[in-house]
Amino acid sequence: MSRIEARFAGLRGAGRTALIPYVTAGDPEPSVTVPLLHALVEAGADLLEIGVPFSDPMADGPVIQAACERALKHHVSLHGVLDMVREFRRRDADTPIVLMGYLNPVEVMGYEDFAVAAEEAGVDGVLTVDLPPEEAGELVGALKAHGIDPIFLAAPTSDAARIETMDALGGGFLYYVSFKGVTGANRLDVQAVADKLAEIRGHTRLPVGVGFGIHDPESAARVAAVADAVVVGSALVKRIAELADAPQRIPAEAPAVIAAMRAAMDEPFSAASA
């Protein structure tokens, strides 16, 4: 059983929804990332999503674009991100790590070389935003051969046949993009998400996480009531950006965003009333 599967199985047993914070690796500078990841786990994160900075993040809104630009000022590369994962694993052998990014850095490293290096570093899942299932066969093969779960995005525009293809190719969990738009936009409609999740669950055995637009404890709790995982990116990255001039404060102060969501998600009344 993969680390991601084990984590979801444990949460299911405890009746809890997974909380998955996203941070861009190396934002605002490389030394912050590993201490921040540990602090996020302490604040209640069940899995971690680490963004690989890219020069052209087409699916991201302004908050994560700016995070990529801050990280790239320090030339944070895919190799550098894998070094961070390796360092994180020295103190944490249990929390699953998902790399999220765009295809080109992986393409340039080579699929097989990447899969070998990611497995060795301790990566559990890889989500490549601009790689739909139609083009994913080769990378999926390399990842699976090295015990890494390929994680796919499902969208409001995905039909049943596409969900079934993702289910066949993917592992770990399915990441449902809650609306048509880019990360950080304020367009979340929880009822629409609940309706689509009911449809998606008819076509996949995978747990379904929901991301895009979850920006405060209330929206986290409402989505948690219908999803298996809640992914929080821009809301956390925005807090990191506010602290960018005092990076040493980030590991201590930024995780409060996640702790507040964790508390709201675990509050039985708010979950039940959503």
Binding site: S55, M58, L78, L131, P132, L153
Partner: protein, 407 residues
């Protein structure tokens, strides 16, 4: 065993059903756009075979764009160069001054057939933005054009032209603030407003079906040129030359000649300050394969897979990628891709202007600069067709500034 005829036939049959030109092309976008791209492909497959749609397109190309564009024998310039006779395909005489409008007219008609009321576009120098704003004005569509903040500063006149035409021009402040960032931002708009919005991409790049669809709209250039040279010179051309940024004017000229193996074909990239300087815009000559903006193709990228900034005196060539069909034509050796420097392009700009009374765009001046190298190596009974893809009026300020003249 594949015969030579089969191989030549295969040249014309690309891309495959999923938009691949050999290993290039494809559809590398976020999941949300996969459904809408498939819808677009189906609409295009339907209308490209619909006589009523094609008649409407032909009518617009004739009466609105002013086609066919002439094939002009550059006699004095040919005499001066010595060697082959040079013919200029006059896309500069189209309405709005460049080949871009062939494509925007087609995509806007398609958008209307699909019931979309809003069109968006990316633009670098502003030519595609102006061509999009123009057709949007004519069809009464809402139009938003994304343009890098740096390009807005450099191309103030085109920004004003677009606003006169009723378009909203959005300044893109992310990344390098140029064409590639404008394309990113247009994609973000499209993924957000995909229900009512049609994205008019300006070149033969992007996710399938754009590279094939934009090519289909631009091949009118090559079809006309083929008939014109047969009628005017009494023979087919020995060589074709076109500049390549994204590559839409080039593929438009080249495609109808691809299976004609006697025709040598040259694509000319922006060599900037020289390939060896590293400051250029020549992914086919000096880049490597990767994935950007929805397709796999040759890119200007670093060892970590980050896209790097390009440099060319011509804003229309200042793009780190290139259409996937060009990537494939390079690999199979059907088209030779070369680069000329800013300095060589400027020399050609002046030479043609003084000798023929035709002021070419700086993009097209790259193709002309290569003709200046090639023609003297050929015989007097041989013929070269150069795609004069746009007029140079938009570049007067750039040329003047380079020469220290205040206009």
């Amino acid at each position: 065993m594949a015969t030579q005829a089969d191989e030549l036939e295969a040249l014309m049959a690309q891309p495959d059903a999923r938009g691949h030109f050999g290993p290039y092309g494809g559809r590398f976008v976020a999941e949300t756009l996969m459904g809408p791209l498939e819808e677009l492909r189906q609409a295009w497959e339907q209308f490209r075979a619909d006589p009523e749609f094609l008649a409407e397109l032909d009518e617009d190309l004739a009466r609105f764009v002013g086609r066919p564009s002439p094939l002009y024998p550059a006699r004095r310039w040919s005499d001066k160069l010595g060697g082959a006779r040079v013919w200029l395909k006059r896309e500069d005489l189209n309405h709005t001054g460049a080949h871009k409008v062939n494509n925007t007219v087609g995509q806007a008609l398609l958008a209307r057939r699909m019931g979309k009321k809003r069109v968006i576009a990316e633009t670098g120098a502003g030519q595609h933005g102006v061509a999009t704003a123009t057709v949007a004005a004519r069809l009464g569509m809402e139009c938003v054009v994304y343009m890098g903040a740096e390009d807005i500063r450099r191309q103030a006149i085109n920004v004003y032209r677009m606003r006169l035409l009723g378009a909203e021009v959005v300044s893109v402040e992310s990344g390098s603030k140029t064409l590639k960032d404008a394309l990113n931002e247009a994609m973000r708009d499209w993924v957000t407003n995909v229900d009512d919005t049609f994205y008019i991409i300006g070149t033969v790049a992007g996710p399938h079906p754009y590279p094939a669809m934009v090519r289909d709209f631009q091949t009118v250039i090559g079809r006309e040129a083929r008939a014109q040279i047969l009628a005017q010179a009494g023979q087919r051309p020995d060589a074709l030359i076109a500049c390549v940024g994204g590559g839409s004017n080039a593929i438009g000229l080249f495609h109808p000649f691809l299976s004609d193996e006697a025709v040598a074909i040259y694509g000319v990239e922006g060599g900037g300050e020289g390939i060896e300087s590293g400051r250029h815009a020549a992914p086919l000559c000096a880049g490597s394969p990767g994935v950007l903006h929805g397709n796999r193709t040759y890119l200007m990228e670093d060892a970590d897979g980050q896209i790097i900034e390009t440099h060319s005196v011509s804003a229309g060539l200042d793009y780190p990628g290139v259409g996937p069909e060009h990537a494939w034509l390079k690999d199979i050796g059907r088209v030779q891709y070369v680069a000329v420097t800013d300095e060589q392009a400027l020399a050609a700009f002046h030479d043609l202007t003084r000798t023929e009374g035709i002021m070419p765009a700086l993009e097209s001046s790259h193709a002309l600069a290569y003709a200046m190298q090639l023609a003297p190596t050929m015989k007097a009974d041989q013929h070269i067709v150069v795609n004069l893809s746009g007029r140079g009026d938009k570049d007067i300020h750039t040329v003047a500034a380079l020469e220290g003249i205040k206009v």
